[in-house]
């Protein structure tokens, strides 16, 4: 559905993206993850025909973004980071205008607008002037604008940025509800969002792809060994010595925790072995008190940091 091959964009001396290649299949939600300034918006602007690439090709629904720009534009819905709203229009007249320029046939206009407003939950504010709406509602109107012509591809640039937690959940649910009918590319710098909504993740840093795959596969890729978090009360030196002596433990680090008698330790152990039991036993045997012991799952956060710092080191070399 979307095919990006060796895409590069250079602004003067600044290379925004370099040799990006990725794919999204029909009905998939692809998460585009990266820190601010990584090149997410640039990539999206190229996909939406707003900017031309310096080199490389991007194909959307079988059409090249440069050669057949008009065909591509008919097939995409785009929500930029700043929703493109005319604040002096009412929600309904705004959507009518967008539907017209997106080429929705007059006969379908009514039903398309009603359906979109229903889907994005803005039907009850249809006669409100957009300038009077809250940020959350404006974002929904922005989403409605991208959906009104029923595009096969949806490109959403940081759709939840600046919203409160409740609004974030609502927008996210709306997006998940669109899965299957539309191919969606969603950019974000919030990791939990990706693991919640996307089937596929592309991590981008400094304009290059730093990692790619399902959220699960990315986590598995980096999950080397078990990491435990142990909150133990007892004399620090003794606890440290006892923990280090446990079979299978590779490294023990202090995570802070304040006083001399109570410390949180991060215990790294060889993968697969049941270190839990042995750590617990060692604590009890040593006469210390165990306050908390749990497995630390590597989150997307860790993967992200791992991958992005790695590439930075590469760049320095």
């Amino acid at each position: 559905m979307i095919e990006v091959r060796e895409l590069s964009k250079i602004y003067g001396d600044v290379t925004a993206i370099e040799n990006l290649s990725f794919e999204a299949k029909k009905g998939e939600i692809l998460g585009f993850l990266g820190p601010n300034g990584a090149g997410k918006t640039t990539t999206m602007r190229i996909l939406t025909c707003f900017l031309p690439p310096t080199s490389g090709t991007a194909i959307v629904d079988g059409f090249d973004v440069q050669e057949e720009s008009m065909e591509v534009r008919r097939r995409i819905g785009y929500l930029p980071e700043l929703p493109p709203l005319y604040t002096d229009m009412t929600v309904e007249s705004y959507l009518q205008f967008v539907a017209k320029i997106k080429g929705v046939a007059s006969a379908e206009m009514r039903s398309r607008i009603d359906e979109t407003m229903e889907r994005t939950g803005i039907a009850h504010v249809r006669n409100t002037v957009i300038g009077h709406l809250s940020k959350g509602y404006r974002q929904r109107v922005g989403l409605a604008q991208a959906l009104v012509h029923n595009p096969s591809v949806l490109i959403l640039d940081e759709p939840t940025v600046g919203l409160d937690p409740k609004q974030i959940i609502e927008i996210r649910e709306t997006i998940i509800g669109l899965r299957g009918d539309h191919t969606i590319i969603l950019s974000t710098h919030i990791l939990s969002e990706v693991s919640m909504t996307c089937e596929k993740v592309v991590i981008i840093n400094n304009g290059r792809i730093a990692g790619e795959g399902t959220p699960q596969s990315l986590m598995a890729q980096l999950n080397q060994g078990d990491v435990l978090r142990a909150h133990i009360a007892g004399p620090r030196e003794q606890v440290l010595a006892a923990l280090r002596a446990v079979e299978g433990v590779v490294d023990v680090a202090e995570d802070g925790g304040g006083s001399d008698t109570e410390v949180v330790y991060t215990v790294t152990a060889v993968s697969g072995e049941e270190v839990h039991d042995r750590v617990a036993r060692c604590v009890v045997d040593g006469g210390f008190r165990l306050k908390e012991l749990r497995n630390l799952d590597l989150t997307l956060e860790d993967i992200f940091l791992h991958l992005t710092t790695e590439t930075e080191e590469e760049v320095k070399v």
């Binding site: 707003f50 310096t54 008919r74 785009y78 005319y86 229009m89 320029i101």
Partner: protein, 260 residues
């Protein structure tokens, strides 16, 4: 055509939903009315003076022409007011879209740059024409109390629409260059004033340069229309000017696409 109409209607709507159209029409008509009244009073005064002296002049009455002394004068002051007002009508056309991010919506929709540009240009020109048409009331007042010659009046209005199109095209170009509306208004105003006064420097230039400079003056070409002469060379001047400005605007708007 559908896209053009969609953009055109959107722009017209935004002029009339906001106070812009009403304030501009109100201020313009007030100023124009004030000037018209004074010009008319002056004409009355002349008439009175000459009729009192008529006996001494032994039938050699000077030619007191309503068209020349009222209509032409009135039109001459009106175009200066428009020079000030049009940049304010055009300043938001592209600058605002760029600032608010809606340019991204237009440029990623299946509409061409030319459709967007013409929609905006004609919307602004329509508003201008509408307000100019309201000044016909003054000519009707003349008709009620005198006998103006309607030929030159109509040709002057045609000239006015062409002049307006020139003003609007320069304003649109200025607006496309920036996302700051104040910059847009100043650029448009500066460019128009320069084109207005350009024939002044013709008096100090060589014969060829002087010809070119005075040809460039946007106001020079209006004088024929006010005399009731529709010269095709004047029409061609205005139309080619508009075409050239609009062409430059499309280049500016599309420059983002060829800046690789």
């Amino acid at each position: 055509m559908r896209n053009f109409l969609a953009i055109y209607m959107k722009e017209m709507r935004s002029y009339f939903v906001s106070p812009v159209a009403y304030v501009i029409a109100g201020v313009f008509l007030f100023l124009a009315g004030y000037l018209f009244r004074n010009i008319l009073m002056q004409f009355n005064f002349f008439c009175l003076q000459f009729s009192q002296r008529a006996q001494y002049m032994q039938g050699q009455m000077p030619n007191l022409n309503l068209n020349e002394m009222v209509v032409t004068q009135f039109f001459a002051v009106m175009d200066f007011i428009w020079l000030l007002i049009v940049p304010m009508l055009t300043m938001r056309l592209f600058a605002e879209e760029k600032k608010s991010g809606t340019m991204e919506l237009l440029m990623t929709s299946p509409v061409t740059t030319v459709q967007v540009l013409l929609g905006k240009f004609f919307a602004c020109l329509s508003l201008y024409t509408l307000i100019v048409a309201l000044t016909l009331v003054y000519c009707l007042i003349l008709e009620a109390y005198g006998e103006p010659d309607w030929g030159p009046i109509w040709s002057a209005y045609l000239g006015y629409i062409l002049l307006g199109a020139t003003f609007v095209s320069v304003g649109v170009l200025a607006s496309s260059l920036t996302e700051n509306q104040i910059v847009a208004v100043l650029l448009a105003f500066g460019a128009l004033l320069l084109l207005w006064l350009i024939d002044w420097s013709a008096s100090f230039a060589g014969p060829t340069a002087a010809k070119i400079l005075s040809y460039m003056s946007i106001i020079e070409h209006l004088q024929d229309f006010q005399r009731g002469v529709i010269d095709s060379s004047d029409v061609v001047f205005y139309l080619s000017f508009v075409f050239f400005s609009l062409f430059l605007t499309t280049r500016v708007l599309e420059s983002r696409r060829w800046r690789r």
